[in-house]
């Protein structure tokens, strides 16, 4: 009955308010759920692919350098006796020509591989007649040096059938192969979304420059310590045994920083939602003080009142979470593309498909939404339980926040700020900037505690101005804001939080964007790029053979070229990028932005002279290595140490990059392929003419695309903006929720002041004046929140840039103020707070004056 009196009936009666609050929570939960789902789906796509390709293998022999020698197979022979089985595997990325679609090439020993992977041939050779199973003779055709097997759905998509030619570009080798088998969509044929080509090991080695080399060896061995120990002993230096799932773990770890940052942003939306619940419960308590007083007089215990309002919070939480999970599921489908694109651009090739709502995600969504709502209802509920019985007899005494209360809040703010400074100095844990996030929370708490002071100060300052402009209406408006400080400051804190987050994110993204733009301008100084594929995102899988380098160099209008090549390498259990370039050309023509030493030339020269490397800033921060240190990298056949001669800035990759001179790379990794050729033209040569000429010369033979400096820069900025699209979307959500909060609060304030407003009307204030007064009040709150919010945003952006980004990604970002973006966002929030006043102002006009006064 208490619940019904205080919570259930009012919730049903005030449908709009209830709906807004539930929506606020739902939006926060939805964002969290959506990001979780989209990430899960992207990661699952990758994991399933790895599992499908690994088949029944329980161990794999791998090398951190990515390549192992075929001879390792011979060393494993002794294991035959204990029942071990081995399958040599080539597993590399390539593209299919001319569509440039990424494809995975799996080269296996077709005879023995059936132990490992489950192949189901739909058709082999020309046997289109399903009834007749292919003969052994027909299977032998698969071993021809140009045979390839494709999964049925993929073949159908590409319009390929048995006997069709297909051009694969792998490791810089373009080869025309013939489809001689079609697989049912089952087992390995489902990996990488079915974009997989399977051929005999020998075919893969011969055609794609991997003679004598393997990607890994899959093993099925007994699960005993003796066997694994024996294995370790048999393996040469530079190779090791691990579970196939280790690869998933590494990738999952690599994506963690990305995930955590998305969650932090989702947390913003949730935080605003929580503020909304706090706000709603607090307001419902302020509005139902009288009822609480009656209930208390009739003998209701404080604990019962407390539980009733806690239940209100829980109800909002449960309803919001349920709705949020549904919304999140829908949202996930639409952001899946975005997240997938970001992951592809920055990390791994993964093509996520459907979003699957797992019980874990549902539970997490409900827990997050409900727990946070409950938590945010605790303080107001305590407040409600303290309402003395008989309060309805003495109205109007209880609404002011005393000077002492405000002083205490100032103390809270001060302590929060001091703790925030301390938290921002905590080093990251496992690549996650926990201290940074803690500092963000503390700063938010601190500024929220300042809200009453800000509101008070603003109205005090505005009072004379408003009196001059709006006469008595202005005076009354300013006084009303001060008089109901408790409620106005909650509204103001919620809006300030939203504005603060908005300003912070705008500052961070703006600074980041500007930093990247300057960096791209400085880095991309060459005139043209030659690449074997059009887009940036699959640049890793498409390669040129080394021969193209010499041919381009000989072109008369080309002054110099820089050949770029690199690969993923496992370093200290993390996947990093080892790259190479022509350091001589880079030093002479380019201008690599450096962290240390100041200029690139000596660093590159020293690297060439000493066989050293330069590393990216993210590598340097993550692994705590700087100029003068050495880094030990896996190379085919062993490990090798390199002195670090320079640290450069790099925003293209947060995993860490180690770059060496090309001759050294080619020698160590026995890899002559080229990802990109950076072309410097002779002076006076027209860029557009040169671009077309180069494409004419190398397009047909190598499938080369020539890209101008300007379009590279544009492409980088497009990827950047795509990556931050989620951020902008979240920001919009946060602001929408905050505006909802303002409307909510102001409407409640009006309803509660019915009598006061009626009195003003009776004493001669016109409807227009009442409306003006309310809009003035909401603009006062708007101004106070904007001031607080901008200050909060500035501090938060500092933490985001210098603590969280630096710790999570290892990026130094220079501070730039995107003035236009911030001005526009502030205008939006301020106008929305004005608009938020219009609805309650209408409400006020509907008050029946006589009845309102008579009521009490």
């Amino acid at each position: 009955m208490i619940l019904r009196a205080l919570v259930l009936r009012p919730l049903v009666r005030e449908k709009l308010r209830t709906a807004l609050t539930v929506l606020g929570i739902a939006v926060g939960v939805a964002v969290v759920v959506a990001i979780q789902l989209a990430n899960q789906s992207a990661l699952r796509a990758f994991r399933e692919s790895v599992d499908a390709v690994a088949g029944r293998a329980n161990f794999q022999v791998v090398s951190d350098a990515g390549v192992i020698s075929e001879n390792v197979l011979l060393r494993l022979r002794p294991l035959w006796r204990s029942g071990g089985r081995f399958a040599p595997v080539i597993d590399i990325e390539g593209v299919i020509e001319p569509s440039q679609l990424p494809i995975r090439l799996l080269g296996v020993d077709l005879f023995s591989d059936l132990h490992f992977r489950d192949y189901r041939f739909a058709t082999v050779l020309t046997s289109e007649d399903r009834a007749a199973p292919p003969s052994a003779q027909q299977y032998l055709e698969l071993f021809k040096p140009d045979s390839v097997v494709l999964p049925a759905p993929f073949a159908r998509q590409q319009g390929l059938a048995i006997g069709s030619p297909v051009v694969l570009n792998v490791n810089g080798n373009r080869r025309r192969l013939i489809v001689r088998g079609i697989l049912e969509a089952h087992g390995p044929a489902t990996a990488f979304n079915g974009s997989i080509a399977i051929c005999d090991l020998a075919t893969a080695q011969r055609n794609f420059g991997m003679l004598g080399e393997l990607s890994r060896i899959d093993l099925i061995v007994p699960e005993t310590a003796a066997v694994t120990a024996a294995l370790e002993k048999l393996l040469p230096e530079g190779t090791r045994v691990e579970r196939p799932s280790r690869r998933n773990e590494r990738v999952s770890r690599m994506l963690r920083a990305f995930r955590v940052n998305l969650f932090a942003l989702a947390g913003v939306a949730l935080l605003v939602g929580v503020f909304l619940v706090y706000n709603t419960v607090l307001i419902s308590i302020l509005r139902r003080r009288r009822e609480v007083g009656i209930l208390r007089t009739l003998g209701t215990a404080p604990r019962q009142i407390f539980l009733a309002f806690l239940a209100e919070g829980a109800l909002f939480g449960i309803a919001g979470s349920a709705l949020g999970i549904l919304l999140g599921n829908t949202l996930a489908t639409s952001i899946l593309g975005l997240v997938g694109r970001t992951i592809n651009a920055l990390y791994i090739t993964s093509r996520p498909q459907a979003v699957v709502l797992t019980p874990g995600v549902i539970a997490a969504g409900i827990a997050v939404g409900t727990l946070l709502s409950l938590l945010s209802a605790i303080q107001p509920a305590i407040e409600a339980s303290r309402v003395p019985p008989g309060v309805m007899i003495r109205a109007g005494l209880q609404q002011r926040t005393g000077v002492r209360g405000r002083r205490r809040l100032l103390g809270v703010a001060l302590v929060s700020f001091i703790l925030a400074v301390i938290a921002s100095r905590i080093p990251p844990t496992g690549g996650v900037a926990i201290g940074g996030y803690l500092a963000v929370l503390l700063v938010v708490a601190g500024f929220s505690a300042l809200a009453p002071a800000a509101v008070l100060r603003t109205s005090a300052l505005a009072r004379p101005v408003m009196r001059r402009l709006f006469n008595v209406v202005g005076t009354v408006a300013a006084a009303a804001v001060q008089a109901s400080l408790r409620r106005t400051s909650v509204a103001s804190a919620a809006l300030a939080l939203a504005i603060g987050m908005m300003v912070a994110v705008a500052l961070m993204v703006g600074s980041f964007r500007e930093t990247v733009r300057i960096w791209v301008d400085q880095t991309v100084q060459s005139d043209l790029w030659l690449r074997p594929s059009r887009g940036l995102s699959n640049a890793q899988s498409a390669l040129f053979p080394s021969a193209i380098g010499e041919e381009v160099r000989k072109v008369d209008f080309v002054r110099a070229i820089d050949r770029i090549r690199g690969r993923d390498v496992v370093y200290e259990e993390a996947i990093i990028w080892v790259g190479s370039g022509d350091f001589g050309v880079g030093a002479e023509m380019g201008d690599l932005p450096m962290v240390a030493p100041r200029s690139a030339d000596p660093a590159l020269a020293e690297a060439v002279a000493r066989g050293g490397v330069v590393v990216s800033e993210s590598f340097s921060l993550r692994f705590d290595k700087g100029v003068g240190d050495t880094v030990e990298l896996p190379v085919p056949g062993g490990r090798r140490s390199f002195p670090i001669t320079g640290v450069y800035r790099d925003y293209s990759n947060d995993r860490g990059v180690v770059v060496m001179d090309r001759p050294l790379y080619v020698e160590l990794f026995r890899d002559q392929a080229i990802n990109t050729i950076v072309v410097y033209l002779e002076p006076g040569v027209d860029h557009e003419w040169a671009r077309r000429r180069l494409e004419e010369m190398f397009g047909p033979k190598y499938g080369a695309f020539a890209i101008s400096n300007a379009s590279i820069r544009r492409e980088v900025m497009t990827i950047f903006d795509q990556t931050f699209m989620i951020t902008y979307a979240l920001l919009g959500v946060a602001i929408a929720v905050a505006v909802l909060g303002i409307v909510n609060t102001l409407s409640a304030l009006i309803l509660e002041r019915t009598r006061e407003l009626a009195l003003l009307r009776v004493t001669g204030m016109s409807r227009r004046q009442v409306r003006t007064m309310i809009v003035l009040e909401s603009s006062l709150i708007g101004v106070a929140s904007t001031v607080t919010g901008v200050a909060m945003g500035w501090v938060l952006s500092w933490i985001l840039i210098h603590v969280i980004n630096k710790q999570s990604f290892g990026w130094t970002i220079d501070f730039h103020v995107p003035a236009a973006l911030i001005a526009v966002s502030l205008a939006i929030t301020f106008l929305s707070s004005l608009a938020a006043g219009v609805i309650p102002a209408r409400l006020a006009n509907r008050i029946p004056v006589a009845a309102a006064i008579k009521a009490e």
């Binding site: 009196a5 215990a301 019985p389 309805m392 005393g402």
Partner: protein, 222 residues
Amino acid sequence: MRVSLQHVSHDYAGTEDSAAVHVLDDVSLEITSGDFAVLMGASGSGKSTLLNLIGAVDRPTSGRVFLDQVDTSSLSENGLTRLRRDAIGFVFQFFNLIPTLDVYENVAFPLSLAGQKNVRERVRAALAEVGLGHRETHFPSELSGGEMQRVAIARAVIHRPSLVLADEPTGNLDSKNGTMILDLIRSVRQEHRPTVIMATHSDRAAAYGDYVIHIADGRIAG
């Protein structure tokens, strides 16, 4: 229930913008069990405060309030709550029905708080007694002032309190409804014999009581 006040004084504490207010000043009085006492005095004389102290809604700044043998100033907040819930019924000038509950629920509320049985029959009987059996499912906002006060009386006595406090129960009603309410209070008293204390400044209302206690400026005037 016997009500006994010994040297009771009460102040409302000052705030940053107002000085402390002395509402009651050394009040002692004795009301025998089953009496119908009337408190009379001008507005602001301290009648309501006195009722609040007797009704265990508030505690005196000094002095002691006894309900039967119980010293309410020695009770904990929980003890006071239980006392109000079980032993006291309130009727207010502004009715103070719970706007979100309907008539039936408002009357049933004290019973449900105490976790009692036979709620349905008792509520129906009480509503019939005040002549509002047909209004069960209406909300307070749909009732007239007189009807609201009748519901309030049903609520005040549904749990058979031994003390009924009425604070200007007719103050907000016309004379016809006022009479009906006073008659109801009298019949309640005759039927269940609770102690009734009613604050009023109407002589007509005061005539319903056994005797009148006059209050002026926070003191017993005679």
